[in-house]
């Protein structure tokens, strides 16, 4: 519902307060209540008894955005289009009310929530650390549907508007102000309404530029030579960045440009049509599934052991101030946790802390943080060389080299310096947690936490439980990972865990293609076009080829995998072990551009028959999906959600496909099964169908 209150200066305050919800969202309900209110406002404006309108919210946020549940399930494009047009019309009527309308943003305004604010004539936001402003639709494969694209394009021009629309980043109010998304910031929340009222009484110009003139302004007129060159260049940049895999990014740009050929009403209708098309697109379905439903499922604790109270780490210790250790220290300190950063000497630990200082300096320089805030965060990181400083820590994370003996020794030493309720986590990507915990007196308090590099930006942490790890330790680990704002996936202690095990299947498939005589460039581009972050040969170099071999040696999984022949030849015969040695599939010479090693063609001669790009792409993706299903089958993971997000954030599986399992849904499970069988007959047992997949296909189930 909404509250409608008119004061003695003829200013109406509309307060949004949807019943039964924690936040206000834009849905059918709000349209139902806004329309009568709008009618009333229009009537008073016409009668001259309205001086202005202030829109605010009774919730901690202003307006959270669209109704994803409705959009995710919507099947009839006519309904979606009409729903969008209603929204667009409401916003347009607010804009054309004839009196000043102010968005008094007492909290976050996101998506269509921000679009409402954008339709107002003035936007004031309360500067709270929790207030986020932005149009994140694109991150779910959608676009703003309420005319916001047209408004931003007019106001900010192509480049600035597209930067905001195509990245979908949620920003704090200072940045939003700087980028022109809001007009004013207030520090004291109680000033919000007063400021809004003052602005209304200042008799501002409230006619939007697109209502002042019929003609398209020169700065966005696509027919101007300067703009037409800019548009072509921006469009090429989209291709470079997305490989045409993100229809929403393209639709946003199309709508921006096409809107600049026509009047405002037509421009917003064009947006509604694109919006409707995205809602029913597979990409939107995939991305909403992964980045909304799967993410919420994980964060709500679908895999967290039940029955344990919420754990909050007050103080933690990190052993090892290298790249990973200092990254974890930084991320934890940012989240408000006291951190003891230990290395063999204080000066080495200080070097690790220096990483945090540099990262924070960047934030200060970007205006995202004050110097005081920076100092406060840095003060939370205490460097040391003594384990005795662990005594009041709730968690110790060990981040030393992947050396089992060293890790065991540290675990033993750590146990002697911690209190009973403290637990120990080892940051490892492959070592067995059960093995490492053998050294511990309390293996139930020992767990694996696989952080990804760079820690500050990769949002995933693999939590690995050993044979003896207690459920409580798992639940506390889960809570800690959430506390530092990361996504936890809970994984059984099998070699390679989840992420590495599946990731390597992708790398090996790339190597197999090379063994078959496919052109290296074609292999790399097939992966990039498929949405992987880079080509398998480049990524295998980065990982190091001996490490790739090690897995197979340790697991004896697929000794006859054709990719192994390549890895062995590279390591044993050619002594080209990867990027760290500056020699792998590529030559890494700092003075020169990174290029394929000149001897590659001779060692792996080109086959006369070059495979179709589509087939290569499918092979590279299918191996990953099949391996992920095997992990599910073997209970390495509990939920599909973790498999999906683990794949996207763990190794960069095509986000627009929604992750490894959603890719199977997207492909169609029966089509996927049929195709996998074809691939198996052509390329071997690694494409063999896991029983789980066969069973699901028979029962016509999806990976929900």
């Amino acid at each position: 519902m909404i509250y409608y209150k008119k004061d003695n200066q003829d200013i109406v305050i509309i307060t949004l307060d949807m019943s039964g919800r924690r936040v206000n969202i834009i849905n059918h309900e709000i349209a139902q209540v806004l329309l009568p209110a709008l009618k009333l406002l229009e009537k008073s404006a016409k009668a001259g008894s309205l001086r202005g309108v202030i829109i605010t919210s009774a919730k901690p946020t202003f307006l959270a955005g669209g109704d994803l549940d409705y959009l995710h399930k919507a099947e009839n494009p006519q309904d979606v289009f009409e729903h969008t047009e209603i929204l667009t019309t409401i916003f347009r009527r607010i804009e054309q009310l004839g009196v000043p309308v102010v968005a008094a943003m007492n909290g976050s305004a996101l998506g269509s929530g921000y679009e409402l604010a954008l339709a107002c004539h003035y936007r004031i936001a309360w500067d709270s650390p929790n207030t986020l402003i932005g149009l994140p639709e694109v991150t779910l494969g959608m676009m703003p549907g309420g005319g916001g694209i047209s408004r931003l394009t007019w106001v900010l021009g192509y480049e600035k508007a597209f930067d905001i629309l195509s990245k979908g980043r949620k920003m704090h109010v200072k940045e939003a102000l700087q980028r022109g998304l809001i007009d004013k910031i207030i520090v004291d929340k109680s000033d919000l309404i007063r400021e809004a009222r003052d602005w209304i009484l200042s008799e501002p110009d409230i006619v939007k530029p697109w209502d002042k003139s019929d003609s398209i302004p020169t700065h966005i007129n696509p027919q101007r030579l300067k703009n037409s060159r800019l548009i072509a260049a921006m469009n090429a940049d989209i291709a470079r960045k997305t490989y045409h895999n993100y229809p929403a990014v393209q639709a946003i740009f199309n709508a921006m440009v096409e809107g600049a050929f026509v009047d405002f009403e037509t421009a917003t209708r064009i947006c509604s049509r694109y919006f409707t098309s995205l809602i029913s697109s597979k990409t939107c379905l995939n991305m909403t599934k992964a980045f909304w439903y799967d993410l919420n499922k994980i964060n709500k604790g679908a895999s967290r052991p039940k029955g344990f109270g919420r754990f909050r780490a007050r103080k933690i210790a990190i052993i090892g101030a290298g790249i990973m250790g200092s990254g974890i220290a930084y991320t934890s300190a940012l989240a408000g946790i006291e951190v003891v950063l230990k290395d063999i000497s204080v000066s080495i630990a200080e070097q690790g802390k220096e990483q945090s200082r540099q990262a924070l300096d960047r934030l200060v320089n970007l205006g995202k943080m004050t110097t005081e805030q920076k100092e406060e965060i840095l003060e939370r990181i205490h460097t040391t060389q003594h384990s005795s400083d662990f005594e009041d820590c709730d968690l110790v994370i060990e981040t030393v080299f992947e050396n089992p003996d060293l890790k065991k020794r540290i675990a033993r030493d750590t146990e002697m310096h911690i209190h009973r309720d403290c637990f120990i986590a080892s940051n490892t990507s492959t070592l067995s947690i059960s093995d490492l915990s053998e050294a511990c007196a309390q293996p139930k308090n020992y767990i694996g936490m696989h952080f990804f590099s760079p820690v500050a930006t990769v949002p995933l942490v693999e939590i690995i439980y050993g044979e003896d790890t207690s459920k409580e330790t798992i639940s506390r680990s889960f809570d800690f990972v959430r506390q530092i704002g990361k996504i936890p996936i809970i994984v059984k202690d099998e070699y390679g865990f989840y992420t590495y095990r599946v990731y390597r299947s992708f790398l090996l498939e790339g190597l197999a293609l090379l063994q078959e005589g496919q052109l290296p460039n074609a292999i790399e581009n097939a992966a990039r076009l498929a949405g992987m972050p880079d080509g398998p040969l480049a990524l295998a170099d980065k990982l190091s080829l001996p490490k790739l071999l090690e897995f197979e040696i340790n697991t004896h999984q697929q000794k006859d995998h054709p990719g192994l022949i390549v890895a062995e030849k590279m390591v044993k015969e050619l002594n080209r072990k990867g990027k760290a040695r500056q020699a792998g599939f590529y030559d890494y010479n700092k003075q020169k551009k990174v290029e394929f090693w000149a001897g590659l063609e001779e060692c792996f001669p080109q086959d006369k028959e070059q495979l179709d790009q589509q087939l290569m792409t499918e092979r590279l993706l299918f191996v990953q999906c099949l391996e992920a299903v095997r992990c599910l089958e073997e209970n390495i993971l509990q939920t599909n959600a973790e498999a999906n997000l683990g794949s996207i954030y763990g190794w960069g599986f095509a986000p627009f496909k929604g992750g490894v399992l959603q890719y199977i849904n997207d492909y169609g499970i029966s089509e996927f099964v049929a195709r996998a069988q074809e691939l198996e007959s052509l390329f071997g047992k690694r494409f063999e169908l896991p029983a789980l997949l066969k069973e699901m296909n028979e029962k016509q189930l999806n990976f929900n």
Binding site: Q78, V262, D263, T266, R273, S277
Partner: protein, 401 residues
């Protein structure tokens, strides 16, 4: 020699050529693409067999420029091996493209073509392309080029058509078009325009004003009197010194409407048609272009029609149905007088006064209407003709097979 056959003809409905017109939101390339898809689907066309796409457009700049024919072919997903070219014969572009395609087929060097036209007048307004005839004073004064509306008034002045006669003709166009629309005579050729979601944007011509009466039409102010006064009347009289003044009878009601639309036809020889399972609907008997005096401009249809009749070995009385573009009422009446055409076989389903004149697309639409109507009436020979800027005329004669 190869004969040229028309296998199919499609067109969009015409949308009002204004900001509030239904097709304003649709880009010209999309109008064209939808027609390419319609031809492809309706005929299960193996598009790689198409030798060329020829698209006429009277204002080939901006979104309509840059060879929209090839652009649309690529955008429609047709094979990269199919070329495309854009032509400009002003208002007759959409008929000229068909004639050119027919000539290519008859040359024996090409077997199957798509020809037609497109014009989004709401998005790319007339004269967006400038041009020397109108914008270059040296050229304009030498050739004595005046606005077409003034030329139309010049014709009516010389021919002594009075305002009532002109309005009467306009009313007939409205009534005939509305009747044809209601009776579904246009349905065979009209392809509704859908958006990317399959939602209908426009499914019938929206420029019609069936509520028109002679009285209402009579009250409309002359549209070109002010232009005339600016000096264009004087320019007309310089060329036609036997006149004292120009009587301005043309109004928004008896001139063609400004609309958006596109149309395409599929043309080829018999052999190719048989190979692809295409059924010929009509044979092109003759195609001709000509030109006449520039200032009066709108009478080029007369020499081009004479030329076409001669090529076909026909006389005017042999034509069963005539489609003469209603750019304005007067040129049609003048044409009718010249060839002594019975009113019952001239523009029998109305024309551009009622439905609008999407410049580069009109000729194609005229031909599709003509063939549809010949079939409906089970007649044989039809003639379509268009006058254009610069005094040119284009004529096509078809015979049902």
């Amino acid at each position: 020699m190869q004969e040229a056959y028309i296998f199919d003809a499609v067109r969009t409905p015409c949308g009002r050529g204004k900001v509030y017109g239904s097709l304003h939101e649709v880009k010209p390339i999309d109008l064209l693409c939808k027609m390419l898809h319609a031809l492809q689907e309706r005929n299960s066309l193996d598009t790689k067999e198409v030798d060329d796409i020829i698209v006429g457009c009277a204002t080939p700049v901006g979104e309509q420029g840059g060879n929209i024919a090839k652009s649309a072919g690529l955008y429609a997903g047709w094979p990269e091996t199919v070329p495309g070219m854009q032509i400009n014969r002003f208002c007759a572009s959409g008929l000229e493209s068909i004639n050119l395609a027919a000539m290519k087929v008859r040359s024996g060097w090409e077997q199957l073509l798509v020809a037609g036209g497109v014009e989004s007048m709401s998005r790319v307004p007339m004269r967006s392309d400038g041009g020397a005839l109108y914008n270059d004073p040296a050229v304009n004064s030498k050739v004595n080029y005046i606005p077409q509306g003034v030329s139309a008034d010049l014709i009516s002045t010389i021919e002594q058509f009075d305002r009532t006669q002109i309005d009467q003709y306009a009313l007939q166009s409205q009534q005939r078009a509305f009747h044809a629309q209601e009776a579904g005579y246009f349905d065979r050729s009209i392809i509704p325009v859908y958006d990317i979601n399959g939602l209908t944007i426009l499914d019938k011509d929206e420029h019609l004003r069936p509520e028109s009466t002679l009285e209402v039409l009579g009250q409309l102010p002359p549209a070109f009197a002010a232009l005339g006064k600016q000096g264009f009347d004087a320019m007309a009289i310089i060329r036609y010194p036997f006149l004292n003044e120009i009587e301005h009878v043309h109004t928004a009601g008896n001139s063609s409407g400004i609309v958006d639309g596109a149309g395409l036809v599929l043309i080829g020889n018999k052999e190719k048609g048989e190979a692809l399972g295409l059924k010929p609907r009509a044979r092109i008997l003759a195609a001709a272009a000509s030109s006449s005096e520039t200032t009066i401009m709108l009478q080029g249809t007369i020499p081009s029609t004479k030329k076409a009749l001669k090529l076909a070995g026909l006389e005017a009385k042999d034509i069963n149905l005539w489609e003469v573009n209603e750019a304005f009422a007067a040129p049609v009446l003048k044409f009718q007088r010249t060839f002594d055409i019975d009113n019952d076989i001239l523009n029998v389903n109305g024309g551009a006064i009622a439905m609008g004149h999407p410049l580069g697309a009109t000729g194609t639409m005229l031909l599709s209407t003509l063939i549809d109507e010949l079939e409906r009436r089970q007649l044989s020979i039809g003639l379509a003709t268009m006058c254009t800027s610069g005094g040119m005329g284009v004529t096509t004669i078809v015979e049902l097979v």
